[in-house]
């Protein structure tokens, strides 16, 4: 499930706080909800994010895929309206609602115009509080999910993601596809979907961010109307897990011309004192820019790939330091050798003061640029809440980046980066590579 992993990466990037020019207000509703708000009245619409902690990891035993199917069926009929009537009503208002299920969250993203905000919110409310989950709708969406599961089984990126996560997390929910299997999804009943709704969408796990043409008072009233009738408590969250990765190579044979490789070992928790040093280190190692060590060595100097990246994966219950590369079957072994060598080089010899300075300039300069759009800002401030950051954290974020020293970065490199612990999962017909265990 590479998509889930990458999605986690994105939320990580978005949620790093900084000195940005946004004025965040905390709004407490009479009904007991807390939301963060950035007022922006220059464009007549509001972006609203509502996230529920837990996500697909709340699937009950034998019901893998239930939260995912439930989330996808939320807008397939609600209250008095069936799927088509609901969609027509939404189109008449030109509102946009989307519902997504990730490993750790179910998220609802809404955009609505000021001119018909009340009607739009009333419609959204029906999907959250009174979804119909008609059998016909469940079956229709189920057939789409099954189609996706079958397609993913022949997609090298998805095959790699599943093999890697299975190895890392075993029977923890993180270790299996959150879409479920053909068997598990085929056997889900309407009762399972109702249970998943009650488990995943409750008031005890809700995080809210709003940005746009709305006042704190208007938002408070809106939220109590919207979410007041959700159940108070949901299902317990899953346990934390140490990834069970060992060094070595796993080859998954698949007949395709270009191999896809995922690699990784244990990571760094966001709460850890090492986190900012690790974040800077990862930027230098393979953080996405053309100038990272991995891009320079694997792509720019040797032309072995179109893209190679490393990233910190910060899930609620596990941490990984991962990377990805794609390279033709007869060249992927070379790419992996170069990656391992870079991992060893940085672990042993660290990075230079110049590299650290450049990474700091990039991260501190880029941070304020993220806050440029209602939708983007709503995402950032909701992510900040779910990560437990205080309201004023943005003002100190760049200082934290600046405070990291070269010694700290190189100490983190020594303690965390371990070329011998790296597990490579390679999907394709890689020449000169075979499974080591």
């Amino acid at each position: 499930m590479i998509r889930i992993l990458l999605a986690t990466l994105v939320s990580l990037a978005l949620t790093l706080p900084a000195r940005a020019g946004v004025d965040i207000q905390e709004v407490k509703t009479p009904g007991g909800l807390t939301a963060w708000l950035v007022e922006e009245h220059s464009i007549p619409f509001t972006a609203l994010e509502i996230w529920f902690r837990g996500g697909t990891s709340l699937d009950r035993p034998g019901k893998r895929g239930a939260v995912n199917l439930m989330t996808a069926t939320l807008e397939e009929g609600a209250g008095e309206m069936d799927a088509l009537a609901f969609t027509r009503a939404k189109e008449e208002l030109a509102a946009s609602f989307s519902y997504d299920a990730g490993d750790d969250t179910v998220s609802v993203s809404a955009k609505f115009l000021t001119e018909n905000r009340d009607e739009a919110v009333a419609l959204l409310r029906e999907t959250l509080v009174s979804p119909r989950f008609d059998q016909e709708a469940i079956d229709r969406v189920r057939s789409q999910v099954l189609s996706i599961i079958r397609s993913d089984a022949k997609d090298p990126n998805d095959i790699a993601g599943r093999a890697f996560e299975s190895r890392a997390f075993g029977d923890h929910p993180y270790g299996t596809d959150s879409n479920g299997t053909v068997d598990s999804v085929s056997s889900l009943t309407r009762g399972d979907i109702l249970q998943a709704h009650a488990d995943a969408m409750a008031r005890d796990r809700i995080y809210i961010g709003a940005v746009g043409d709305i006042t704190p008072e208007e938002l408070a009233t809106l939220l109590d109307d919207l979410l007041g009738d959700l159940p108070e408590t949901g299902a317990p969250l899953p346990r934390d897990i140490e990834p069970a990765l060992t060094g070595g190579t796993t080859v998954v044979p698949f007949d395709t011309p270009q191999s896809v490789a995922l690699f990784g070992h244990a990571g760094v928790d966001r709460e850890s004192d090492d986190f900012f040093a690790a974040y800077l280190l990862n930027t230098i190692l393979g953080g996405g820019g053309f100038e990272s060590r991995l891009m320079t060595e694997v792509r720019e100097k040797r032309g072995l790939t179109y893209g190679v990246y490393s990233f910190l994966v910060d899930k609620d219950h596990a941490d990984l330091w991962m990377g990805q590369v794609q390279s033709a079957n007869n060249r992927v072994a070379d790419a992996i050798e170069v990656i391992r060598a870079q991992w060893a080089e940085i672990s042993e010899n660290g990075v230079t003061a110049e590299e650290l300075e450049a990474a700091k300039k990039y991260l501190t300069g880029a941070y304020p640029l993220r806050f440029d759009g209602n939708g983007r800002i709503a995402n950032i401030i909701t992510g900040m809440q779910i990560e437990g950051m205080p309201l004023d954290y943005p003002a100190t974020r760049n200082d934290r980046v600046e405070a990291v020293t070269l010694d700290q970065v190189n100490d983190v490199a020594r303690r965390y980066l371990d070329p011998d612990a790296l597990r490579f999962v390679v999907v394709g017909q890689p020449e000169g590579l075979s499974s080591t265990d």
């Binding site: 720019e300 032309g303 991260l363």
Partner: protein
């Protein structure tokens, strides 16, 4: 159904849908344009909510402007522009952008090549100085060529060779165009990519990279006066290329008189589908009415849950898991309109195609649901509000429009033209375009199961880990 958008079922086909999204621009008063003395056009889009600026240079040159035999050279050159100039070491441009907290990249289509940086507003001059430098002064070595050629071949592996949907689409587009270069993939045919050399890249560069063939788009926290001053300083001194071809004359399509049908089989296909594309007119300067009708036709037929095809084939007949329609209205030359159907379990591609054609015929008989048309127009109006939240996509709208033959006036008139579309316009356009003689019908599927090799693949689950 939003989670299960075709992004997951049909990742590559979806890319087309994005292009079919109705265009909308609001706040026209925030858009300013002018032209430098050397012919470089400048567009400024103001958005002062955040101290950010997007700086883009678009060239009126893309893959369809290549000389036959060197397919992929426009995109190859785009990569090589990051290699260095007299003043910039290889990679220095991206490094400088990053050290200033910015991001940069570039993109190539059949009709344009674009370069952009997203950076703090006070770094705009620095971006311009580097972009102006590489407009005329790149310096390439044979090593650059050899290494970067490997990179673009890996890019082709990643985007095309590893994806049966992309390979299928490539074959279908080649069949769609009998003469025009839109039938050749932007990334290039592999056998020609492998032969691309320094001279091929430099020929293209010297011909097309010049201020009189470029459009500067700056969007964000800037004023037109600031942009004018900086643009005159950095781009103003670059001489125009007097040798620039006057017209972008590409080989035109002859009259198409026979449907083309193809079957693409690949063991990696888990979800078969049928697609149909029709040659269609594009948005032309001063003449966008038919294109506007086709945009709305695509919305009526394929617009999500309430699209006509989905309502009939997924909800009523239960023959499809997913259906969609697309139209790429923005294009310099003749474009395509298309539909596709992902059949439900147990429904053959032949049956899906038959149902698709019956549904299209039925639509032409029944006409347009007035309420649906109103909903679509309401969403287009709202889209103008939502579009203002993303200044980068507004910048792209102007850059791509101007490099695909439209004028600023055409781009700004577009939302009103969409609002004026009537049922009669839609049906006239539909009858004109939905002509099988100008169509390509394609089936994407796995080889039949009775082939031994396919059996072998089926018995071993693809996700099984070899120990």
């Amino acid at each position: 159904m939003s989670l299960f958008s075709p992004a997951r079922i049909l990742k590559t086909v979806l890319a087309l849908l994005l292009l079919a999204a109705p265009s909308a621009q609001a706040a026209e008063d925030l858009v300013t344009d002018f032209t430098l003395g050397n012919g470089m056009q400048v567009v400024v889009i103001e958005d002062h909510r955040a101290p950010v600026v997007v700086h883009m240079v678009w060239y009126r040159a893309g893959a369809a402007d290549e000389t036959p035999g060197v397919s992929g050279v426009a995109h190859f050159l785009e990569h090589l522009l990051f290699k260095g100039t007299d003043d910039l070491a290889p990679g220095e441009l991206s490094k400088t952008v990053a050290e200033n907290g910015g991001t940069d990249n570039a993109f190539t289509s059949h009709d344009y090549t674009g370069y952009y940086q997203r950076v703090a507003a006070d770094r705009l001059g620095l971006m311009m100085s580097m972009e102006a430098d590489r407009m005329r002064n790149i310096r390439l070595t044979e090593t650059d060529i050899l290494t970067e050629r490997e990179v673009i071949i890996e890019e082709r592996n990643q985007r095309v060779e590893n994806s049966p949907q992309s390979l299928f689409r490539e074959q279908a587009m080649a069949a769609q165009y009998l003469n025009h270069r839109y039938g050749v993939p932007v990334i290039g045919w592999r056998h020609e990519m492998e032969q691309l050399g320094l001279d091929d890249a430099m020929d293209y560069y010297r011909t097309f990279y010049a201020p009189n063939n470029a459009i500067l788009v700056v969007a964000g926290d800037v004023t037109p006066d600031e942009v004018r001053t900086l643009a005159e300083e950095h781009y103003g001194p670059i001489p125009a290329n007097p040798e620039l071809p006057e017209e972008r004359d590409r080989p035109a399509e002859p009259r198409q008189t026979a449907e083309r049908r193809l079957v693409f089989e690949d063991p990696r296909v888990a979800q078969p589908y049928v697609s149909r594309s029709y040659l269609a007119p594009e948005r032309d300067p001063g003449d966008q009415k038919t294109a506007a009708a086709l945009v709305i036709l695509a919305d009526i037929l394929g617009g999500g849950q309430t699209g006509y095809l989905t309502e009939k084939l997924t909800f009523e007949q239960k023959k499809a898991v997913y259906t969609s329609a697309w139209y790429r209205g923005q294009s310099l030359d003749d474009t395509t309109f298309g539909v596709y159907v992902v059949p439900a379990e147990g429904v053959s591609l032949e049956e899906a195609e038959r149902a698709m054609d019956e549904t299209l015929d039925r639509f032409l008989d029944e006409g347009v649901d007035e309420a649906q048309l109103e909903r679509i127009k309401m969403q287009i109006r709202a889209g103008q509000v939502y579009a203002r939240d993303n200044v980068e996509s507004m910048a792209r709208r102007y850059g791509s429009g101007l490099t695909q033959g439209l004028t600023i006036e055409d781009i700004q008139a577009w939302p009103d033209i969409l609002q004026e579309v009537t049922e009669a316009d839609i049906l006239t356009a539909a009858r004109e375009v939905l002509d099988r003689d100008r169509a390509v019908t394609g089936y994407l599927r796995a080889p039949a199961r009775d082939e031994p090799s396919a059996d072998a693949n089926e018995t071993q689950p693809a996700n099984e880990v070899s120990q």
